[in-house]
Symmetry: C2
Subunit: 247 residues, 2 copies
DNA sequence: CCGATAAGGTTCGATACCAGACCTTAAGGC
DNA sequence: GCCTTAAGGTCTGGTATCGAACCTTATCGG
């Protein structure tokens, strides 16, 4: 506004403007593309040894031209995250072992952004659990949830467990079939996955979280929306406490 | 191989991929720019007669080049939403009267997207109310909330009320100081505002909603997080019921 | 009345991205 | 063993956007 230095602090109206006029166009499409693919691989959505979808399909899904997508894939190839073979039956094959011993990659986002993600998660994930439990699930959906749970519980190794954990939470969100909610949970899980990779997690924490996962899945399958939400809230609180303490 | 032809229907893994590999790059920057500014004006964040921030500042806030921003402003000028004056003290002056009699603009988004927004809102806005109530508000924040409430209650005319309503909800979100949450509420309110503009709202509905607003603000100011959440949930449910019935 | 200043208006080259056509390689099917 | 097909690889022209400098207009202060 005419912003004379009259106010000591900001005009409330300005705050609203800042809220609505958020920045669009996240950096370059190329970079976001690399990040998105790398995330998918690290989350184990495309596990080691699997083949990515064909370039033309990926490009369309990500709303990006094939040239841009190819540059991104090239970058991942340079980063040794995948290899590419030509010809029919070819494609980009993932080469990523989530073993990384004490790698402890540095946090790449500012701490406050991560704390924000934890607070936001505390709202959306319990909401997702609640919504998922209220739906009547198809057999296939129930099956997917059980499979996700099974994968978390049988995960050997912390890195693998971390992947399976993220996928379990994404699975719950996808049960709601709400694009906005799925998007919110995805965002949050990406940041969470990064945070969990940067701190030491004890076996005791994992056991505790497994019990909570069991209870959450059970409540969702039983259609007990309130219980699903309550347990998910505890689960988020516990993880957040762990992270806030160790970051 | 991750993709053996065993799937009769879609592989659950595919659903997760679809979740993480969401489309980036919302169409053209120019269009999003026009939409964002038009929304700000229609929401009354820049009320009739006020001047927009200088182009250079706006461009930076929206993460867009000045040329693109100027094209957007030009489009709004063509749409008679503002006029522009040159020279010092000049700028783009909003010319928008939220009176529009029975205009009832058509819904521009697919119905299912709007229903999704209602479902998502039912999760994030109660969460925002809860989080806002848990915070210790500064005097200025409390003041802003009271002012927003006052503006809703004193709004003359339905269109003006609709603006003030959106701003009240945005104000609550901004109290949380959580960027992710603010963003979520903003998204939801934009869609909601559009929906409410497309249906006839009765005075009775407005009265009812005013009572709920009072209760919400009171609970937040009193620090009663659970009550704030409960009332906001009812509020969202009631609005959603109204909309689902009339759309 | 006149300079400083704060705005909008204009121009231009660089570049990221897109859309599509086309080429090359390697499996599979007949 | 050929032909189809499903993949990746390459090329090209077009366009949106950026960015940064520069011009023009109008107000304000002395």
């Amino acid at each position: 506004m005419a912003a004379p230095p009259d106010d000591v602090v900001s005009d409330p109206q300005d705050d609203l403007a800042a809220a609505v006029l958020r920045p669009l166009r996240a950096h370059h499409a190329f970079e976001s593309c690399v990040e998105m693919l790398a995330t998918s691989i690290r989350l184990g959505i495309y596990p080691d040894g699997s083949t990515l979808p064909p370039e033309r399909e990926l490009a369309e899904r990500m709303g990006v031209s094939r040239s841009t997508l190819r540059e991104a894939i090239g970058a991942l190839r340079d980063a040794k995250l995948l290899t590419t073979r030509r010809g029919r039956g070819g494609g980009s094959v993932v080469e990523f072992h989530p073993e990384e011993p004490g790698a402890s990659p540095k946090l790449q986002r500012p701490r406050e952004e991560l704390l924000d993600a934890l607070a936001f998660r505390r709202i959306v994930e319990p909401g997702a659990a609640h919504a998922a439990a209220k739906r009547t699930l198809t057999g296939q959906q129930a099956e997917m949830l059980r499979a996700s749970l099974e994968r978390v519980n049988s995960a050997a190794g912390k890195a693998v467990h971390r992947q399976a954990d993220a996928q379990f939470h994404l699975a719950i969100a996808s049960l709601t079939e709400s694009p906005l909610l799925i998007d919110a949970v995805t965002n949050v899980q990406v940041r969470l996955h990064e945070m969990l990779g940067a701190i030491p997690v004890l076996d005791r924490n994992i056991d505790h979280s497994r019990q909570q996962h069991d209870a959450i899945a059970e409540a969702i399958l039983a259609g007990d929306a309130f219980k699903a939400r309550r347990v998910m809230e505890s689960h988020c609180d516990d993880t957040a406490a762990l992270l806030r303490g160790l970051m």
